[in-house]
């Protein structure tokens, strides 16, 4: 049926070249050699020369390997049977379950017509005050967690996924440590969420090219669920590994890098994935939470930098806490006027006071005299960090707002907070 070719002309990095004709751009092929079989994708056509990117990498491929073209681009099956399952970056089962092959849909499909999008309007509750109160997550938002290595970003991601009221969770793991993969699997299982989850996992030990497929596969499946009116939450960790995989491949393809070795289309590549986040006019939604690790805690590094230009805000995870400064949900104002009347007041005043506390800390460090006001701020700052910022705090938004008033009342007089008296009259704790 499909033609098989056996004369490989060139092998460089993960890319092989064969002579063939009638091959479609981006078509898939199966490359079989002594060391096994791998999928490969057409990435360039030049006369009869067909350039294929081999998912399992070029290592061990022999010049007489068999190349069989499949006549279609990369596809992913779709059905409810995906729920509860775990796959590799190229869509093969990673658990011991059966292969699924219904409703094959191409990955990396076309973009949503902007005219069919609506303005997001639903809050996603997480139980984390630093998110719910201060930087509310909104359904269909795309938001990265910026963080240095060693921060508990995967547990944070898992927690949000477990507490968020969504119908389907899709986890795309890129360059995951095997332990982290098991952590996600076990915690989803333990909390009974695995049955509404699908995992596509590329671990650090797997071939680089497979890492590249993870976001597209995850988002293609997410899109199908969303079209069936499901609210889908996609977790992508770690997008820096995805970018690094692109960098590695661009370099072996001898592309001219633009910035610190990354290819010039890094922005477009990341954007085409993140822009899959959507609230459909008359169907479900896709919300994307991603981890972007920052090499050297440097936010101007090309990966976090380009990400910041694409996403709708960011959470900075630092010292095990979500930093109030720098973190921003750009969509929060779409929802935080409909939660509780004091939401914005608490959000603004507590952050302003916390900023003053930080200034006081600096003055203290410089050895300047501490006034009575400074003392109050010092007391406030400690409580804010312990009772609001600490990631172990897990309370609903309303409780968090009440707690906010309590902390303010324990540290200040109403007039000192700068809150309009109309608000304090109603909300300031009595006694």
């Amino acid at each position: 049926m499909h033609k098989t070719y056996q004369q490989i002309e060139q092998i460089a990095g993960n890319v092989i070249v064969v002579r063939a004709d009638g091959i479609g751009y981006r078509e898939l092929a199966q490359v079989t050699s002594e060391h096994g079989t791998s999928l490969a994708q057409v990435i360039r056509l030049e006369g009869e020369r067909v350039y294929l990117q081999v998912f399992a990498g070029g290592r061990g491929i022999m010049t007489d390997a068999q190349v069989r073209f499949l006549g279609h681009p990369m596809e992913i099956p779709f059905s409810d049977a995906l729920l509860g399952r775990i796959f590799t970056g190229s869509g093969q089962p990673r658990d011991r379950g059966p292969v699924i092959s219904e409703n094959e849909t191409p990955i990396g499909g076309p973009s949503v017509n902007p005219a069919k999008r609506i303005i997001p309007r639903n809050m996603v509750r997480t139980g984390i005050p630093m998110i719910d109160v201060f930087n509310t997550l909104v359904e269909s938002q795309k938001l990265p967690i910026f963080s240095v290595a060693g921060e508990p970003y995967n547990p944070l991601l898992a927690r949000i996924a477990l507490q968020a009221e969504v119908d389907v969770i899709i986890l795309g793991g890129m360059g995951l440590k095997h332990d982290d993969y098991l952590y996600f699997r076990d915690i989803l299982e333990e909390k009974g969420a695995l049955t509404r989850s699908v995992m596509f996992v590329h671990t650090a030990a797997d071939p680089t090219v497979e890492c590249l497929m993870v976001p597209d596969i995850s988002l293609a499946v997410a899109e199908q669920f969303a079209l069936q009116n499901k609210r889908v939450l996609v977790l992508l960790t770690d997008m820096t590994n995805f970018a690094d995989a692109m960098k590695e491949i661009a370099i072996t393809m001898e592309q001219i890098p633009s910035n610190r070795g990354y290819p010039g289309d890094l922005y477009s590549q990341l954007a085409s994935r993140y822009e899959k986040a959507v609230d459909f006019d008359t169907a479900g939604s896709i919300t994307i939470l991603a981890v972007t690790s920052m090499p050297g805690d440097d936010v101007t590094h090309p990966v976090p930098d380009n990400t910041g230009y694409i996403t709708e805000g960011q959470f900075y995870l630092r010292n095990g806490r979500i930093e109030p400064f720098g973190s921003l949900s750009r969509l929060k104002q779409l929802v935080n006027d409909k939660t509780r009347a004091d939401h914005r007041t608490i959000m603004n005043s507590m952050i302003q006071l916390y900023a003053s506390y930080r200034e006081t800390l600096e003055k203290q460090a410089m050895g300047f005299r501490m006034s009575a006001w400074d003392q109050k701020l010092l007391k406030y700052g400690v409580r804010f960090e312990r009772e609001m910022m600490d990631l172990t705090v897990n309370i609903p938004l309303e409780k968090a707002l009440d707690l906010g008033w309590q902390i303010l009342a324990d540290c200040f007089d109403p007039a000192e907070t700068g809150i309009p008296s109309k608000m304090t009259d109603q909300y300031w704790p009595k006694g």
Binding site: G24, Y25, R26, R44, P110, V112, N113, R117, F280, T300
Partner: protein, 578 residues
Amino acid sequence: MTTTHLGKIRGINGNLLRVEFSSPVAQNEVAYAHSGELRLKAEVIRIRGNIAEAQVFEDTGDLRVGDAVEFTGELLSVELGPGLLSSIYDGLQNPLPELAAESGFFLQRGKYLPALDRKKTWAFTPKVKVGDTVQAGDALGAVPEGIFEHRIMTPFRLRGKLTVQEIAPGGAYTVEQEVAKLKDEQGRLHTVSLMQRWPVKMPIKAYVERLRPTEPLTTKVRIVDTFFPVARGGTYCIPGPFGAGKTVLQQITSRYADVDIVIIAACGERAGEVVETLREFPHLEDPRTGRSLMERTLIICNTSSMPVAAREASVYTGVTLAEYYRQMGLNVLLLADSTSRWAQALREMSGRLEEIPGEEAFPAYLESVIAAFYERGGVVKLRDGSIGSVTIGGTVSPAGGNFEEPVTQSTLKVVGAFHGLSRERSDARRFPAIQPLDSWSKYGGVVPDEQVSFARAMLRRGGEVNQMMKVVGEEGTSIDDFVVYLKAEFLDAVYLQQDAYHEVDAATPAERQQYVFERIHGVLRAPLRFAEKDAARQFFQRLTQLVKDWNRVPQDSPEFKNLETRATQMLAEVTAHA
């Protein structure tokens, strides 16, 4: 007219095709790659020997070597005619709502629709008689389009003097129906309809002369109009790191700017931001006309996940449509967000063409491309004596927020005003986060120059005192210096910062800026005397609060006067009289 030729695909690399051809091919002509039923639009961008290289405006998946390519002989063009306003187009002028009606949620590859409605009729009134002589750009008649009288003009491509042979009587016509016949100097006849086409990469030049941009374009953003003004027909740029407020600044400008027409070119940015505009504008009232804001707005939307190659087309489409309305004697503002995404698209293509890269791998011609784009802004005098203008404002998204990069630097060389956003100010939530000491403008503003220079000097000195205080503390600072610092902070808080989301504060008209700034300037100049720093601080805290409230009440309300009187009294109490 034009004949189509066929070529054959020889190579595919991303969205770049290498096509072998045998009959003549023009640089920048439009071609269609055929793949089964699909016809994918492309543009020829380089020709070498018998190989034309073409960038496809779509995903190239499934194309094969040997597939046919049809060369159309036409340059990449847009349709010009009534019905453009209120439209939402993609970068190649496909109407997005109509595409959605046909194909549903997703943009379908190879699906193109005419930009102008072919069925709708327009009430045409002729403005010339048989025998009249006209030239390119001269009005032959007009149709009402929303709040405007839309001129039906002699096609821009026609040269020399033309004689009106036939002119249709007043009545309803579709955009394709003939309304006039013109004879050129060689005796050739040209039929004219309500619609004409124009290649996007060529400026429309049907005017008498270009004038110097001198009249301020009020944006109603105080820091812009007072400190870094924009002129009608001028150009300006807004570079800034991510999240510093470029898009919000453009969004408020698109609402409040004192121009006839606003064209928003969303180029390679978030779809969600465009959705806000296109869902909200129809419900917002244009204070100038009392009609929906959408009636004066046109959106070109080629967001980041839409085809990269069409980003370049989108800014040219935007500026061509702007020039078209300028030819009607209107003032048009083009807002492009973000020009860096277009530059990156050029870089991607240049890489595939294996051109010798310049700095940060941008092509060596980046600078001249940017310059040529901003050159399309300007004020022109038309043949009937009326004046039209195209003002261009582009955002720039520099890598790492560092302005020392090719796109920012190339842009700064050609624009008339620079609104640099700073991370420091946006982190401190001092919006709009335009850096008041580094930004500049070559245009004249709405407030007297000497007041502005005085205020700027105060900001600079205030900043210096603040730096010094970080080292020596408040205790080590003299009270005079401290007051300078407080005055600068006061100016920042009540004038430079502006609440984009407050009904009144969001938009300050020019007269109000003049009125308010004169008084603020009075505060800055006043010799103030305080016994101690705490008293000074408290005074300015109270005054700041009061003036902020003042900003939030309508100028014609009794409260406005009231608050002003209170502020004047407060000031009098602490003013030292020599």
